[in-house]
Symmetry: C2
Amino acid sequence: MGLPMCKNLLKVGYPVTVWNRTAAKTSEIASLGAIVASSPKEVAQKSDVVITMVGDWSDVEDVVLGHSGIIKGARHGLIVVDMSSISPLAARRIAQHLEKVGVEMLDAPVSGGEIGAKEGTLSIMVGGPKDVFEDCVPVFKALGKTITYMGKTGSGQAAKLCNQIICALHIQAVCEGFILGEKLGLDLEQLLRVLTGGLANSRILSDLGPRIIKRDMRPGAKMRYQIKDLRNVLSTAAELNLPLPCTSLVCELFQTVSVMGLEESGTSAAILVMEKLAGQKTGQ
Amino acid sequence: MGLPMCKNLLKVGYPVTVWNRTAAKTSEIASLGAIVASSPKEVAQKSDVVITMVGDWSDVEDVVLGHSGIIKGARHGLIVVDMSSISPLAARRIAQHLEKVGVEMLDAPVSGGEIGAKEGTLSIMVGGPKDVFEDCVPVFKALGKTITYMGKTGSGQAAKLCNQIICALHIQAVCEGFILGEKLGLDLEQLLRVLTGGLANSRILSDLGPRIIKRDMRPGAKMRYQIKDLRNVLSTAAELNLPLPCTSLVCELFQTVSVMGLEESGTSAAILVMEKLAGQKTGQ
């Protein structure tokens, strides 16, 4: 995600300094005019706004609070925008660390995947101080199309988790509906047409449905990230003593995809779990 | 559903003979010109096509195969169209009984609820012999907007079950997403706007989401029928040795609504189960 996002920032004229754990990954963006730093600390020293786009909360902690992290190069008034998807409670903890040294933080996870990053059409859900959000709107506008302020620190991540619950359960919904349809001998293309025309319609059904029917496992969104997000949902819910029964079950089912060695596949791989449960290959 | 459907048949000029278990329910349609019969048998004697729109498979069996049922008044070439939602395997069994006496049957369950029935905009999914379907298309067009031939006997019911799986899981998806959002202090109206703009969007989210937020329990679709349909899904899946883990869990959760005495409520009552699990009233 980082590379296309940096390109979009350069395109509208922002000076961009980058760092990546894997140095080779910065060569393309360097050739387009970005400065390559040797550490997150150095990025912070050279920037007014530092955007992090990494894996999970522990990666964000490393990059932000680690021994050559952003916090080591930070000065009063620096803004850190974490666009990774992590738990809202982790986002709050990291923001509190930064606050102590006068650094403001926004949590700004995205929806829309690699295609959205490339096309600059990401949906960005933002939490943190309102005035800091407003300062950063021009940056967000270079990266995405729908920019929504969700509230206090952690609220961007909270909205993203809600988004991921709904997407995951929609994926499972389509898989359970289609596997029953297959077993009952329906023509799935026709079933898809009927269902998209009615109350069962969803973006997941219309976008992912055709891939599920064809067993097209190319990502789109990788199963690995969907599982990571569901784990963050469940750890967050656990801290709140909130049972989320179907989300828990879907997380368990999706983890079977990892066991099958397919976590780099797209989320359409959820249908393979249903096939496995059904004890046979059911594809048409 | 029967009354508005009969009205639409009368409106386009079909002669209509009706029967209802509760005789009083036929007075309005009689005043509009329908003949009231004393039994399903008599309806069959006076009709070329007999439509059944009742509760579950046992009701269909009573009306079709019972001792004053349609089969007792049937003659060769009569067409029975069952528009109730029952299991595809039950539909096949009933069709086999009728076939023995030269009666053709279509299974033609609908999606779109009471509003769709009133406005003649139902989506009708039809299974059975193709030529019989084609003969009945003019009748279906008086009742619905999207008429889809799904295949052999039972295929209409099969499509409806797939529809109900997806709708039920979408309802639960919205409830789990929103209850987490509430617990994390999000403004749910704003969350709804963000989610409907992205990959999480669904007809259920956009139509039912606002009701779930407001705890508006008026039906729309009654929870009682959603539970009935899920039970038919699960009994059908059981006959096929097909596990449907999330559908099973959602059926269990929705049945809690009945335990709470709210089965006549709309499907937005699913949020009350999540509240109960969360151990407190969380509504805004």
